[in-house]
Symmetry: C2
Subunit: 195 residues, 2 copies
Amino acid sequence: MRQFVVCGHEVPVEPTFSLDDLPGSGGRLDLLCRCVGAGLFTSHGIRDARVHLVVDDQLTVEFDGATARNLNPDERSTAARVRDALESERDAIGHQPAEVSRGVKLYRTGLDATLDRLDGTLVQLHEDGDPATAVEPPTDPVFVLSDHREFTGEEASLLSGRADHRLRLGPRAIHADHTIAVAHNWLDTDGYASY
Amino acid sequence: MRQFVVCGHEVPVEPTFSLDDLPGSGGRLDLLCRCVGAGLFTSHGIRDARVHLVVDDQLTVEFDGATARNLNPDERSTAARVRDALESERDAIGHQPAEVSRGVKLYRTGLDATLDRLDGTLVQLHEDGDPATAVEPPTDPVFVLSDHREFTGEEASLLSGRADHRLRLGPRAIHADHTIAVAHNWLDTDGYASY
């Protein structure tokens, strides 16, 4: 299974934001919602993939393509799901998540504990990584990305320590949602070998 | 310059939709707005690229990355620009566009006349096209994509007649905005040769 972990640095832990202002009071939640769409949707279906939104290194909202129902790819409806999840915080106890709706869970975990929970090959995207054409796509990749801000020093050093691969998908830094689309394409084509 | 033409089949020509309901009354304008973002934005900048949204084969809203100001990548603010453009319809006369704001224009043209106006190599994305790895990326590509619906018969036959290349970017049908991200990556890496 393919998984994408996206670190949100400005999304408020308290869901006080307006759905009319995702870039502002939502702390660039618009971008994180596009990451959910890029991670889960194909043209006529939904992938067997998961997207994990890490909010302020404290809470993680998990979207599971295999079990989620009635997800739509637009930012606003996805943001409403995130808001519902953050409102369920008190129902998440220890490492047990709150079940917000089918396929959507809220964990009381930051990046480190979220990565502990996930099985797969951890892929760090890095400008000094190996070019994608030189790496065989792993079967169960876990990609970790940041929102519009750089990884914090703590996150970056955690990833450097844990990553199984350092990968470069292209020469330009692009938005996290576009990176997810490119990563899926790399995997869909078996590393650009199979169209 | 890279250009992307996206055919919207359900976006209303009269801008009567609500910014709170882009997938519904907006006729999947959410998707078209994500196409604008995917076409124009990099992580820390804006590309010298243009995105042309063809609305119901009657009107075309052009976003020009080189001259646009204060564009944001979220759906809602982009949709507000599209609404402003559609409201300027009466200012577009013949083939002269209405200047809606810097870098945003409204033309009274459908797909055929829009393609007449654009210089470059017309690339048709097609499941029976050549794999991207077998095609040298053109210098000035014009990609034509459809929204959540298939091209109409008329559009498809028009494209078949005009296309310089038929290209396959991968084995799965994906959303138009994700396709644009993948196409940019193909071009950025010079056909996966240069990372």
